[in-house]
């Protein structure tokens, strides 16, 4: 059990209003950590702090530290951090270019892969990893905007895999998808944890119970409870957790 990410006393604010209060949490290597909680509980803020995407929001400020493999992420280069900590958004956001270009976009810009042969091999391998290869291998030049929602989200996963990250953050990745596509993405997440560490924010309690190894419950900007998923769902320690997972509120 090695801690991949260690969060110490993290507090986040928008316009001085506290949305996440002195959070202490760790993410174990090669696990899926599920984060559940009702709207406005600070889940997304938490996730976007982990790869510093919140830096672009001028109303945002924070206190505390987050360690990735022992390095404080606020001290290292943000662009390099984002390469190591990939992110999936709630709605699939393919870039307006071909499927092939979507995947090669970041590796080219970052100078990770340059030779054409290597690029082609890389595209095939990440598309296989995101179980999209069979569906799109004949139309890699087609616009990514024309794919179905589920395919787009898996393309986005492939795009993240292409930068070879260590951690992948999923921000409610299935909220715009139908049940079949959701099942495929969930299956994929379970496969991916072999190689990557995953943090999954979801407002679908059942999804967390299906895929995550451990689950954390956030409420009003506070971490109420974190435990092994089967434990948390069967015998939660806190009253609020029980109320939430049994559907009494949220």
């Amino acid at each position: 059990m090695v801690d991949k990410i260690k969060i110490e006393n993290l507090s986040c604010y928008y316009n001085k209003k506290c949305v996440l209060e002195s959070l202490n949490l760790n993410v174990v290597k090669n696990e899926i950590l599920g984060v559940i909680g009702p709207a406005n509980s600070g889940k997304t803020t938490f996730l976007r702090t982990l790869n510093r995407m919140n830096d672009f929001d001028i109303t945002y400020s924070r206190k505390g530290s987050v360690y990735l493999d022992g390095d404080n992420i606020f001290d290292i280069d943000a662009e390099n951090l984002r390469r190591r900590v990939g992110m999936l958004f709630a709605m699939p956001i393919p870039l307006p270019m071909s499927i092939y270009d979507n995947i090669t976009y970041a590796p080219k810009r970052l100078g990770l892969v340059t030779k054409k042969v290597d690029l082609e091999n890389m595209v095939e391998s990440v598309l296989r990893d995101s179980s999209l290869w069979d569906e799109v291998k004949d139309r890699l030049g087609a616009s990514a905007m024309k794919m179905s929602g589920g395919q787009q989200q898996r393309l986005c996963i492939a795009r993240v895999l292409a930068i070879n990250p260590e951690v992948i953050l999923f921000d409610e990745p299935c909220s715009g998808l139908d049940p079949i596509s959701t099942a495929k993405v969930e299956e994929l997440m379970v496969e991916l944890k072999e190689k990557y560490t995953i943090v999954l924010v979801t407002n679908n309690v059942k999804q967390a119970s299906r895929v995550s190894d451990r689950t954390a419950f956030f409420l009003m900007g506070k971490l109420i409870e974190v435990d092994k998923t089967d434990k948390l769902f069967v015998s939660p320690k806190e009253k609020e957790t029980e109320d939430y997972i049994t559907g009494r509120f949220g």
Binding site: L81, R82, R83, G86, F89, L95, R159
Partner: protein, 284 residues
């Protein structure tokens, strides 16, 4: 006062509004029609491709056409990159602070400065202070400053119409801000920027006052040879032959007006159609 039946009053008001719209648009269509009708007979290959002769009463307007084209193309070459960079700064980098507010105010005011004042400024700074003389380059620089606010505004709105999520997707992959702009935002904003540029070219082709003391000459016996030459320009030529030369053959004046009008309207039409086309096949 009698209270009108609301239905009737609506009908009456709608008719009134329709009438106003006709009053606004019809006279301009009529103007264009008059120029086409009277000018068409003057248009010939010779008129477009030869030098003016005998005090401009015969011959063509080639030097004026070429003069305008050279001033305008120099102007756009200068103003487009600067304007697009300024738009990128405002749309992508600028924070909501005092400096940004001053920049926006400056743009609004540049847009409102009268064209003849730009002419004065161009005379003061380019012709006199920088000693460029009355020349293509002095006129082009004057026009480029005048067009800057228009280019910035249109470029900014096309950058702004690229969804923010594309930037997020790119940034979340560790790609830097500038690379994101260069490879994701700009390619998707280019159609809008170019449309704006064409509209600007159309507009400055017809401008007279800014080049009056900076570039235009009454008559030049040869075609423009370098950017430091004084040139004839189409709008200035039209002004001269319609007001300063008595007994000018009417069809030459109409012909010149027609050429200028068609140049401007064709470019504007291209820009408008291009905008409609790109909007329709926009990918998001």
């Amino acid at each position: 006062m009698i209270k009108l039946n609301p239905k009737l009053s609506q009908k009456f008001s709608y008719t009134l509004l329709c009438f106003a719209a006709i009053l606004a648009i019809a006279p301009v269509i009529l103007m264009v029609f008059i120029i086409i009708k009277n000018g068409a007979s003057a248009i010939s290959w010779e008129f477009l491709s030869s030098m003016p002769k005998s005090g401009m009463c015969v011959g063509g307007i080639l030097p004026a056409i070429l003069g305008t084209l050279s001033i305008v193309s120099c102007a756009i070459v200068v103003t487009l990159p600067v304007g697009v960079c300024a738009a990128i700064y405002l749309n992508e980098y600028a924070k909501d602070n005092m400096l940004t507010r001053i920049i926006k105010l400056a743009i609004v005011n540049l847009a409102g400065v009268p064209s003849v004042v730009y002419g004065l400024f161009g005379l003061g700074i380019f012709v006199m202070f920088l000693k460029l003389g009355v020349s293509i380059i002095a006129g082009a620089l004057t026009l480029s400053i005048m067009e800057l606010p228009v280019i910035i505004t249109t470029a900014r709105s096309s950058l702004g119409s690229v969804p923010y999520s594309f930037r997020e997707a790119s940034l979340s992959l560790g790609v830097s801000r500038w690379q994101t702009i260069r490879h994701v935002v700009l390619p998707n904003a280019i159609p809008g920027i170019l449309t704006g540029a064409i509209l600007s070219i159309a507009r400055i082709s017809g401008e007279t006052a800014p080049i009056l003391f900076t570039a235009a000459a009454f008559y030049v016996p040869h075609l423009p040879r370098s950017i430091f030459d004084q040139v004839m320009a189409l709008p200035y030529h039209l002004y001269i032959i319609s007001t300063q030369i008595p007994n000018m053959p009417k069809n030459i004046i109409y012909g010149t007006a027609l050429v200028l009008l068609m140049m401007v309207l064709t470019m504007s039409c291209i820009a408008i159609f291009a905008r409609i086309y790109f909007r329709k096949r926009r990918k998001w």
